[in-house]
């Protein structure tokens, strides 16, 4: 019985255990900068798992998801930040936000919920489209939100940064939220809605003929992924202690999509592995760009190498392993006698 449960939970546990080891090592032995890198990577895991819930299961690429991070980040900032300055710098806020400060936990939860409500409202319209038209319109949504938040001076301080958010995000907290995001993603994936959505990904026409509503299944996933993106936005805001609207724009969109594609966008393992691999590579390169000392000599690679190497990694994956490093499979239960790969796919155990 215990073994069966363990087996069923393996696609999540098998990811969480190695991550826990990494966090433990970073927490015990790592320098501050290593600890920060690990925390950043964990927040990225929440982000990419959020993307995966929609993109991986529906097969529709969305470029607009980081907007929901922005919505949650601003929402939590309004509730928790700078009580003295708020009435002046963000005078357009409604009174319950302008003159009150709320505890971080309810603020974070309500901010994530707001992001999922926003995703639902956007989804009502966007999910009417399919294929490339849907993807393009999500990009439009990204731009619309960026423009609104950049110019809504009295509420968002325009393009200026909001500083002074409480920074309570530790590696362990980020780990816990990443675990929660993975559990949400996995439960959705093995639910009947998740199954129905994956069927629409495989063949929309046949899914309709099987009584599945493509629209509602996609909308459900879009809303749920909005919630997880919101969780990532809250973590991001309270990790850095500062937010500005341009952090939630094209470069974050494309780095997170790269992570998803490199790992393999059809599986949760792929989403997580992609973040780990890309974060590791970029972190090493970033350190080398700023110079490392090798036997007394300061060596630095040219600035910008990071982007070039990432582009090369992405291209190599697209050329040689189009389904990503995991090929869209979940990590298999390691103690079974030889089992067909498909048996463990998407938790059909």
């Amino acid at each position: 019985m215990v073994l069966r449960l363990l087996k069923q939970a393996w696609p999540v546990l098998g990811l969480l255990l190695p991550l826990a080891v990494i966090v433990l090592l970073a927490d015990q032995f790592g320098s501050i900068s290593v600890e920060r890198s690990v925390t950043e990577a964990l927040i990225k895991i929440v982000t990419v798992v959020g993307l995966y819930i929609f993109i991986g299961n529906s097969g529709v690429v969305s470029f607009g998801h980081v907007s929901f991070m922005a919505i949650a980040a601003y929402a939590t900032a309004w509730q928790t930040c700078c009580s003295a300055l708020k009435p002046i710098t963000m005078s357009g806020l409604p009174d319950f936000l302008r003159s009150h400060t709320y505890p971080v936990l309810p603020a974070g939860i309500s901010a994530a919920i707001l992001a999922s409500i926003a995703a639902f409202v956007f989804g009502l319209i966007l999910m009417r489209l399919s294929g490339i038209a849907a993807s393009i319109s999500t990009l439009a949504a990204l731009f619309i939100l960026n423009v609104v938040y950049s110019n809504w001076d009295k509420v968002t301080m325009g393009t200026a940064s909001i500083v002074g958010l409480p920074t309570y995000v530790t590696p362990w907290l980020a780990f816990a939220v990443a675990g929660l995001a993975m559990v949400i993603a996995y439960l959705f994936q093995i639910s009947s809605w998740g199954l129905a959505l994956r069927a629409t990904r495989e063949d929309e026409v046949a899914a309709r003929a099987s009584g599945i509503s493509v629209y509602w299944m996609r909308l459900a996933a879009f809303t749920l992924s909005g919630l997880v993106m919101g969780m990532a936005g809250v973590l991001h805001a309270h990790f850095l202690g500062t937010i500005s609207v341009d952090t939630f724009f094209l470069s974050l969109t494309f780095i997170t999509l790269t992570m998803l594609v490199v790992g393999g966008m059809r599986s949760l393992s792929g989403a997580v592995l992609g973040v780990v691999v890309i974060s590791f590579v970029t972190d090493i390169l970033r350190r080398m760009e700023s110079g490392v000392s090798v036997s007394g000599q300061e060596i630095a690679i040219p600035a910008g190498s990071q982007e070039v190497v990432l582009a090369v990694v992405m291209l190599l994956v697209l050329i040689f392993r189009r389904d990503g490093l995991t090929k869209g499979r979940e990590f298999a239960w390691p103690f079974a006698r030889r089992q067909s790969i498909s048996e463990t796919k998407h938790g059909d155990a």
Binding site: S191, S192, L195, A196, R198, A199, R201, E202, D203, V205, A206, A207, R208, A209, S210, G211, I212, S213, R266, G328, S340, S342, E343, K345, H346, D348
Partner: protein, 249 residues
């Protein structure tokens, strides 16, 4: 009146794609518990007719009723949920899902709970003899199995009527014979009427007691396979000549 109107009934269906008239008045009645063959030469409008019956194609004029209730304006999804399921010419399985999941999806689509859906899927896999392949990815199935799984997926909706679009195409003789028996058994086993669109006459003659012939978008004739075989008009439509018909039909 209503009592007589059970079944899936198409009345005077016309479909025009711009200037091209694909269907020019088809009357077709599929009764509960029978296997009706729908045959006709290429381009006769068979697949268009299936699309009309399953909500994929709106009729330009004419109406389709299920047990007396009009299906007008219901999309494919709602027609499927109302009880008219279909298979596709190119099986269109969900390739990256397992075989069992393929059937589960349809059972879920018909409103079943997960557990029931799974039981339904397993029962159907048993029936088509693919129980041992339940955990395989549908994309890795051999051709013949793919077709049978496509039929089983349609039946997983627990439909009142199932429309099979050329299920035997590309099968060898032995596979055809097995398929014929399977299809002939559907009405009794699933309390479900079957419309069989098929080019392979061996399968049609073996599985159907009644055959409906379409030609050039119109209903040409209907009757037993033997009657159709003897019908001059049918032969002419099929072959464009009345002399060589007996070889094929």
């Amino acid at each position: 009146m209503l009592a007589q109107d059970g079944g899936l009934h198409a009345r005077d269906v016309h479909v025009a794609f711009g200037g091209l008239k694909a269907l020019k008045g088809v009357d077709l009645k599929l009764r509960q518990g029978e296997v009706l063959g729908l045959i006709g030469p290429n381009g006769a409008g068979k697949t268009t007719m299936v699309n009309v019956l399953t909500g994929f194609q709106a009729a330009t004029t004419g109406d389709v009723t299920l047990d007396g209730r009009s299906l007008k304006g219901l999309g494919p999804r709602n027609v499927a949920r109302a009880g008219v399921a279909r298979s596709f010419q190119a099986a269109r399985l969900f390739r990256d899902l397992t075989v069992r999941q393929n059937l589960e999806v349809a059972a879920i689509g018909s409103g079943r709970k997960r557990k029931e859906a799974r039981a339904k899927a397993d029962a159907l896999l048993d029936w088509i003899g693919c129980a041992d392949k339940a955990a395989m990815l549908a994309g890795s199935l051999p051709y013949g199995d793919e077709r049978r799984v496509g039929i089983a997926r349609a039946l997983a909706l627990s439909p009142k009527f199932v429309l099979l679009d050329e299920p035997a195409s590309g099968m060898n003789d032995q596979e055809c014979d097995e398929l014929m028996l399977l299809i002939a058994g559907i009405p009794d086993k699933f309390a479900c009427g079957v419309l069989l669109i098929e080019h392979n006459m061996q399968v049609v003659m073996g599985a159907c007691r009644r055959v409906h012939v379409l030609d050039n978008g119109k209903s040409l004739a209907e009757g037993t396979p033997a009657e159709m075989r003897a019908n001059d008009e049918v032969r002419r439509a099929y072959l464009g000549s009345k002399n060589t018909g007996s070889q094929v039909i």
